[in-house]
Symmetry: C2
Subunit: 73 residues, 2 copies
């Protein structure tokens, strides 16, 4: 897998936990299915650009900032 | 559609044309199907985060920079 697919799950989890939210809470905020958020965080599911943007907005960051954090490794 | 899904096709096309490349050339560089690149540029297909990263790399920009350009509108 490339850097982004390795890092994206980790960064989403870090941002979620920094908010003190459960996966369920994040899924609710992002209007996504709870089990899908779990799959994304376990690196099983690779979101579309639009879904990644929904997650970023729910986590209160720009998608570009979230991706940049993945790129920095 | 949200800003990103409207802007991403436009920005990919702008960057491709700035390189003077055909869709076929971009598809080749990104290791993607030519018709799929056409669908992305027409806003018909929404790429995964990984495919968007492949396009950004082929266009010689970081995905975070490409997304930021979409966010600036």
């Amino acid at each position: 897998m490339n850097g982004l697919s390795d890092r994206f799950p980790v960064v989403v989890r870090q941002l979620r936990q920094a908010h003190g939210w459960s996966q369920e809470r994040l899924a609710e905020k992002a209007n996504l299915n709870r089990s899908y958020v779990g799959e994304i965080e376990r690196g099983i599911a690779c979101p579309s650009l639009i879904t990644a943007d929904k997650l970023a907005r729910a986590l209160e960051v720009d998608l570009s900032a979230l991706v940049a954090r993945c790129e920095r490794g």
